[in-house]
């Protein structure tokens, strides 16, 4: 028997979560289909005025991404909580923050990354330019991990509560507003001929900040929820 290092543990938890998701594909697909549907409803409802569509595209895509990432938050810890795995996770002889970070990483790979990959296709419905699509993908790539991290904190706090699913959205959505503003702002900037660098840097700063704090805060919240 060999001892596992911190990175081995991270790999183990990420692989485990991906394997579980692959055996229960419906969960991953619902998030993605929800995102595609919500974004696609706008051109149908608003009409085909190209100028207006182009203007609202970044906002629509970001709001849809935010709502889609809320959908899967409830599942982040609850399955492990219900079958007792979370108790065993609290007994991991490594830092619990690292374990939470691995759960966040797996959650992002399953609910954030697919959105990033499909966003350019959806952007075409809004007649976005190539440059704008590129910035949209970059902003989503930096922004969606932040959504997963803030979401993990909310999910950990509301674990085991009745109606936790709605509560977590109410808790997390306000905290995600800055990501929404600067994420959509980056795309708006590039379409109006300004450099999106400042918006993207601010998103990057959010990413670093949440990387630093949310795993630890979520780990504390999990300990409280498990008492």
């Amino acid at each position: 028997m060999t001892k596992l290092s911190m990175l081995d543990l991270l790999g183990l938890v990420v692989r485990r979560d991906l394997m579980l998701a692959m055996r229960r594909r419906a969960d991953v697909l619902t998030t993605l289909i929800f995102f595609v549907l919500v974004v696609s409803l706008f051109p149908l409802a608003v009409g085909s005025e190209i100028d207006m569509l182009r203007k609202m595209a970044p906002g629509v895509v970001w709001v849809a991404a935010l709502l889609a990432s809320m959908l899967s938050l409830g599942r982040m810890f609850s399955a492990d909580y219900l079958d007792g795995t979370l108790e065993q996770m609290l007994l991991v002889p490594q830092s619990l923050s690292m374990l939470v970070l691995s759960k966040i990483l797996a959650h992002w790979m399953l609910s954030g990354l697919p959105l990033v990959l499909i966003a350019p296709v959806l952007g075409l419905q809004f007649d976005m330019s190539g440059e704008a699509l590129l910035v949209l993908v970059a902003a989503l790539l930096i922004g969606t991990p932040v959504l997963s991290m803030i979401g993990a904190f909310g999910a950990a706090l509301t674990l085991g509560l009745r109606g936790g699913g709605v509560l977590v959205s109410l808790l997390v959505l306000p905290l995600c507003i800055p990501v929404l503003i600067f994420g959509a702002g980056a795309v708006t900037a590039v379409t109006s001929g300004v450099s999106p660098a400042s918006n993207l840097s601010l998103l990057g700063a959010f990413l670093l900040m949440s990387l630093l704090f949310t795993p630890w805060v979520s780990a504390q919240a999990l300990r409280i929820s498990m008492e």
């Binding site: 028997m1 060999t2 001892k3 596992l4 081995d8 543990l9 183990l12 938890v13 485990r16 394997m19 579980l20 055996r23 229960r24 219900l82 079958d83 007792g84 795995t85 108790e87 065993q88 996770m89 609290l90 007994l91 991991v92 002889p93 490594q94 830092s95 300990r223 498990m226 008492e227």
Partner: protein
């Protein structure tokens, strides 16, 4: 050696026990007894460090477990009411993952040998969802066979097990105690280990 000094715990508003003190040294077996709702599970969870006690402390090798931090969980195995296994995975995957979470990697051969000893021969690669309750419990108990942790904290380990498996558990606990291990457990079924007196702690 595990020392409990003046421990008091509550569940919600209700105080379950207070001023509880006992020691457990290597090679000893302790059964926690009490009616339903007297705080057996709460005591075991407090020993694991899940619950912050109202008063008193739990000490491992002379140090408060709060100060030991991440070192303490590596010294124990906790088996709760819930099996902590995933329906979607098979027995072998479940065992490897639960060992991984406990901080150690096991080879396939060791894991398969453990599952076979638990009476799961031929079912190692079945998805757990097709196994019966007793067989799931056996998958969860297989962790005990592949771990080096000296302290076992078992909450109702015999739940859903048949007579044969209860006998197997008795011999597993006996072997662990012979290796200078310690076991704390709760059960409502008789569980005696040959050659080792069972100490009893009654919560009332």
């Amino acid at each position: 050696m595990l020392e409990v000094r003046g421990l008091a715990c509550a569940r919600g508003e209700q105080q379950l026990f207070s001023n509880l003190s006992f020691d457990l040294s290597a090679g000893e077996l302790l059964q926690v007894q009490g009616e339903n709702g007297k705080g057996k599970t709460t005591l075991l969870r407090a020993l694991c460090g899940f619950i912050e006690p109202l008063a008193g402390q739990v000490r491992w090798q002379g140090q408060n477990i709060r100060e030991l931090g991440e070192d303490y969980p590596g010294e124990l195995i906790y088996l709760g009411h819930l099996n902590a296994i995933k329906d979607e995975l098979n027995a072998l995957e479940n065992l490897r993952i639960s060992c991984g979470l406990a901080g150690s990697a096991v080879s396939d051969s060791v894991a398969i040998a453990a599952l076979r000893r638990m009476g799961l021969r031929g079912r190692e690669t079945f998805p757990v969802k097709v196994l019966s309750q007793g067989q799931r419990r056996r998958v969860a108990l297989a962790r005990l066979l592949v771990s080096n942790a000296p302290l076992w904290i078992l909450d109702e380990p015999l739940a859903a097990l048949d007579v044969g498996a209860v006998g197997l558990m008795q011999s597993l606990i006996g072997e662990h105690l012979a290796k200078r291990g310690m076991v704390i457990f709760t059960t409502h079924q008789p569980l005696e280990v040959a050659g080792v007196p069972t100490r009893r702690l009654i919560l009332s």
